[in-house]
Symmetry: D2
Subunit: 357 residues, 4 copies
């Protein structure tokens, strides 16, 4: 019953097999391996973007911070939601990599930037006034940190405003695959066709050991990115072990199958919670935020369930009821979900086990 | 016949097995996995340093730059050899992570800092004068970039001078295992007993996919390091895949066996080159720099041998003879070496094959 | 009728005289001049802080950013009001000098941090969690950017909370003298006795050409500050021209007289505006924010009055009525104020002049 | 007898007068003052560069570091002499402002970069190789830190090589006026006509209180520079006090007269030292490096002469003879020089005064 994060899951056997298959002979390092050539081709085809440039790094924070630094100068503003991962959970990595850019909050419900709010902020941005940081870029996250999802048309509306102010659009796609299968659109539709200029395509949370692709739909920043990656210590010498993983993940749509499974498990969890807990946000994929009475938490804790309290600063000392963040992954099983639900509800485990059998 | 770098080799089966074994169930991320607990214990025992703090990152540049930044302020000098990896091959990663420290060259033959030169530089360091960068730390590399090796007593002499000026000592150990087995001393003898304050223990060049340990013998910088690692994007969420690899590598002295093999292959290569090439530096482990006539290069290139010309800026247009850097690894075979030697010498491959059989 | 800013004023003759007097013979540079020795003594005496360390720079942004960088690490949070000068008007200078710290907003009315809000933010600061920036310091501004004033007891309450979390307190005192004379307390009472650890004592807005003192009540950061100042390009070689100015300014309480005059002019302006304009905030010193009908603005513009619209992004296209920021200085005269008021009101200047006479 | 530095001198009365004249009424800040408009015009005319952009800062370190940062990316190399002020005397300000660029030494006699050495370094620069810092810019200093002077043709030869590699050329002109009058050429000839892209025109060492102009002959970097200046804390609010000073200095060639006087005094000093001391470098302007017996130093110290030992790390404990750096300025008098010489020589001051009369 592990719902702490999708990054506590392991990797499918196919990924291990791919590593073993890649582990033959010598391979030139630093991205000059043949798996990377194949991966680049695969991503270009999947995204219908033949000129896209693709680079790998091992963490999502690196992908985001390097992508932002490639577009936003040190005196720039990165417009994002106040709950964005780059703002809350990366210990000022974007500030570090950009050389001191400022993350400027744009309001919106459910972790999503509001179109009107972005328009207002950009209209009052201080552009051209030397005392103020200058508009730099807009950063979206899909799925958001609230587990909600931008639709394709929402992304397009935000990108339109951004571009009308000359600002590039970054998409933090740590859970891009989960958003994609939930939205039911193509990779191109959710990215460059909607106006995304650079995508951080997350593999780690969806079945890889630690592989994220940064996809530049406009390759103009590619060389600068490579230099930033190198001096950030993010250019792996034995690069094939990253590219081989992601190549296997993208072949035969494994990545989509894994994401679809995670979403289905979250849906099952949401359905089961209904009536027992308050769900905080419209579920966009594989993440839920819910509040239920302390007694249910106590049963779950006793049974060894793992999850984080929510919001971030919540503690067991908070008044009843208490919130939780629940994340499913490719390796979450129906049994995990059902045991969680029956434990929370206080049903007889044996009985429920039987029923679920 | 691949002698381009030890980082073009793969990983032993034992590492793949360890990954597969670690790939069960859920594991808390960011270093809170049980493999990391075991690895920390193992490193503390191996280095006879029960209070040491150990952290993993995926690249050597990250390990070095983060270790340096944990000790050297932005206005500090990092004293190193002009050929040091941190100076030449990391695209100013140390400058980036420290916030603009200055790498100050200290002379010495064969890629090794000279004790007298260090003493002279530190005696004229400008300490306490606000116009000059302030002495920050001393950084050694073992094996050096010239493939030479500091003896334990040489390290101790340099560390003594450093410490007498209040400066901590960093050891870039990308090829630490190769140096260790060649020197025939214990890990403690080559590090903290000789005065090393922080070691970057390289796994990648010696059989891992991309794992480096930063070992703080004095744990005072540990929390700062963790924050720097996080905001540098170098804290892996699925951390178990790094710790499990290095744990397997350190068990039953696999790391030493791999390094010993690489060194033996380099010795075989050196022996075979004698009389056919000029060897540039005293070999310290698994790396050679040698110069031989163009004709030998042409035969090797035709036969598909891979290696880098040397020095860095050498080209095929340089006058005869031409230099090369040759690196062996755990996966170099006698056959690789012998074919290289016979091809260089222009011997009949069949005949030489028979002779070597 | 110049109310754009107190930094559009000149300097009193006494300052020019001090420059001329200092302009004799040779003087060692970089702070080793005798005027600096006298100034340090004077500030220590005025602030009843014999161990304080004092350093000069030429701009307020430099003073603030360097003071913050001396206390807050690159991964730290600087807690400040969202309208703070360091957040809005310094083009990310604090981010630059700290190496990427994050300015975290704390709510409060009238440009002042609310005690309860600070307590709540610090209670949920993420301290000890590596994914979040770590609490770094608290920055107050007095007078605030809204022209309001923290009382001594308000500063003490905020400093108490800060210190209880181990955080130092920075006071941006660009208009410190104006706050001081309005509050009617001693320099010590408004600073270290209330818990301020480092003060940026602004001279530029109150009669100097460009001199700000950074006063460390705890001298522990003094050497680091000096190195940061030097590498920030903020250590003047001909330092005497800064120290001589500020010394003259502090002698015989000139600084207080200048500030008192500016405040009196603001009071006169406020009195005159009453009934003609909406005053936005309780006036704390020499700055007013007020809104009045467009017709009044048009008369003032036609008469050559200078002031900034307010808020920052206000334009002449905004709906009626329109806001303005009005700042008085040591060189504002009764006549400036009265002409402004009569012009705004549309009165006959001659008549009003007579009436006001 | 003050020969410690030209920055220990004061300012001519004309500069004080200009300050007093500028001190009337209100003036918009941050460079929007009328003196700046006039100064910009004056510099454009003097340099025959009608499109040049001109910005002021208060220190030479700021001018240099900001100019470098406007051209060199964080992963760039700034090629300079190992004795350059930016390398030795600015406490890593260039590294700070660029975000971690690397200052790469180019050899040459007498503090001057050698044309052949620059060509060799640039031919082996590692351009396009992601592991190495990328060629960024070339920085010259005239007068050099050795007091020598680049001729116009030497600057042109170095700039040609730089430009052939696509690198801009920065000229640190802290003593530009001294070099100019000694060389006997026009400002344009020593700068953009010779290939200089950005000049730091030093006023401070030649009669101003603390004013340096950064002159961009190609205005493409102007806006970026302004943002960097602001966030560096180097945009003065009461800007008129800088522009009025430099305007007065450039009017009626005061700057050239001051420099010419300083050079003449250095020439007189050099002539007088001949036979009594070893002069280290060919004198280019107002600075000398000379070595003479300890006894002469003792007489000078006893008489209160001020100068720095040379080289930087020299001490009174060094073996006889001992080196000194001697700098003259606009305010050095014949009497200063003559007393210095007679004291050094141990002559009766009265007698020598008569002889020199």
């Amino acid at each position: 019953m592990h719902f702490a994060s999708d990054n506590t899951s392991g990797v499918p056997d196919a990924i291990l097999d791919a590593l073993r298959a890649a582990n033959t002979g010598f391979a030139m390092g630093y991205g000059a391996d043949r798996h990377m050539d194949a991966l680049r081709d695969r991503i270009r085809a999947l995204f219908e973007a033949p000129a896209a440039e693709v680079f790998l790094v091992a963490t999502g924070s690196a992908a985001n911070a390097l992508a932002c630094a490639s577009y936003c100068p040190p005196w720039g503003a990165i417009y994002c939601h106040k709950l964005a991962h780059i703002e809350v959970d990366e210990c000022s990595a974007p500030e570090f990599f950009t050389g001191g850019a400022k993350l400027t909050h744009v309001d919106g419900q459910d972790g999503k930037i509001d179109v009107g709010a972005l328009a207002r902020v950009l209209a009052q941005s201080g552009k051209g006034v030397v005392h103020h940081v200058q508009p730099g870029m807009v950063s979206l996250t899909n799925l958001t940190e609230c587990g909600t999802r931008y639709s394709v048309s929402e992304i397009a509306a935000l990108a339109d405003i951004s571009h009308s102010h000359g600002l590039p659009v970054h998409l933090d796609g740590a859970r891009f695959a989960n958003a994609l299968v939930a939205e039911g659109c193509s990779p191109a539709e959710m990215t460059w066709r909607a106006g995304v200029d650079v995508l951080c395509l997350g593999g780690t949370k969806n079945g890889l050991m630690g592989v994220e692709a940064v996809v530049f739909f406009d390759p103009a920043q590619a060389w600068e990115f490579q230099l930033r990656r190198k001096r950030g210590g993010h250019l792996p010498s034995k690069h094939r072990y990253l590219s081989a993983q992601m190549l296997a993940w993208l072949e035969e749509d494994l990545w989509l199958d894994l994401a679809r499974h995670a979403n289905t498990m979250a849906e099952r969890l949401e359905t089961g919670l209904t009536g027992h807990a308050d769900i905080a946000y419209p579920r966009g994929g594989n993440m839920l935020f819910a509040t239920w009475p302390r007694a249910g938490h106590e049963r779950l804790q006793a049974a060894g369930a793992e999850y984080y309290l929510w919001p971030d600063h919540a503690t067991w000392e908070d008044p009843d009821p208490i919130g939780a963040r629940l994340v499913t992954s490719w390796s979450t099983t129906k049994d995990h979900v059902d045991r969680f639900l029956t434990t929370l509800a206080g049903q007889n485990a044996l009985a429920s086990g039987a029923a679920l059998g």
